[in-house]
């Protein structure tokens, strides 16, 4: 299992567009990827779930990755957050 946390810097938080990009990125991997933030938990591969978390600027997101490609997936998700959020 891989895990990391990231504090959202983007002024608008995870709104529709970044949520869509995040799901797309997560779907590139076989691992189960879970997000936890704002008191909610959701699968990173479901757009509705990700949007419903209502993640805003300043929120800390905990990302948990579990599966055969978890190391590569964790790297990719980390760089996704740093680049986009």
């Amino acid at each position: 299992m891989q895990t990391f946390t990231y504090v959202i810097k983007d002024e608008l938080g995870i709104h529709a567009r970044p949520a869509g990009l995040l799901v797309k990125e997560a779907k590139n991997f076989a691992s189960t990827i879970t997000l936890e933030a704002n008191g909610k938990k959701g699968a990173a591969k479901g757009l509705m779930g990700v949007m419903s978390m209502g993640v805003k600027q300043g929120h800390e997101v905990t990302v948990t990755i579990e599966g055969d490609d978890e190391v590569a997936a964790a790297e990719a998700m980390k760089s996704f957050f740093e680049t986009n959020l």
Partner: protein, 162 residues
């Protein structure tokens, strides 16, 4: 010769009614790659002629964005739909939008969900075209879209084939 009796109208898993009055157009006409390239899922868009958004089916409000510019719903049969009123309108932070439902509310097709001031949004420099996206389009074999015409709220704009 008995084909007439055998042929039944195809039954779709789910049917999405137009949430707004206006011109139904393909996603490709949306001037934002997120929607034009259907990054969030398959869908279509409506160029509204009235600033009112109605429930596209019987179901539940999954999320009213706190910026009020978008709303997502889940149909009674599980279709997940995002209605995104205008492009880049997240920047308006709720201004010119009035919501009539809350997250978690049960809705009937045709219920008024949201009103927006079309002229004010245009005057602020935003396009009011409203993409309607099936967020779980991958769960369906096909999404049949009806575009290229004027629609009234409730007219069928998408049919989902499982």
């Amino acid at each position: 010769m008995f084909d007439f009796f055998k042929k039944k109208a195809k039954e779709y898993e789910d049917v999405i009614g137009a949430p707004l009055k206006g011109e139904a157009v393909p996603s490709a006409e949306v001037n934002d790659p997120t929607f034009a390239e259907e990054m969030l899922g398959k869908g279509m868009a409506i160029k509204p002629s009235e600033g009112k958004v109605y429930a596209p089916f019987d179901g539940e409000v999954a999320l009213v964005f706190d910026t009020k510019h978008a709303i997502s719903l889940v149909s009674a049969k599980g279709a997940e739909v995002l209605i995104h009123v205008g492009l880049d309108t997240v920047m308006l932070k709720g201004e010119h939008y009035t919501t009539h439902v809350e997250t978690g509310a049960a809705v009937k097709k045709g219920d008024l969900l949201l009103e927006f001031d079309m002229e004010a949004i245009k005057a602020a420099g935003y396009d009011t075209i409203t993409p309607i996206v099936i967020c779980n389009a991958d769960d369906y074999k096909d999404v049949i879209r009806t575009t290229g015409k004027q629609v009234e709220p409730g007219d069928t704009v998408m049919e989902l084939d499982k």
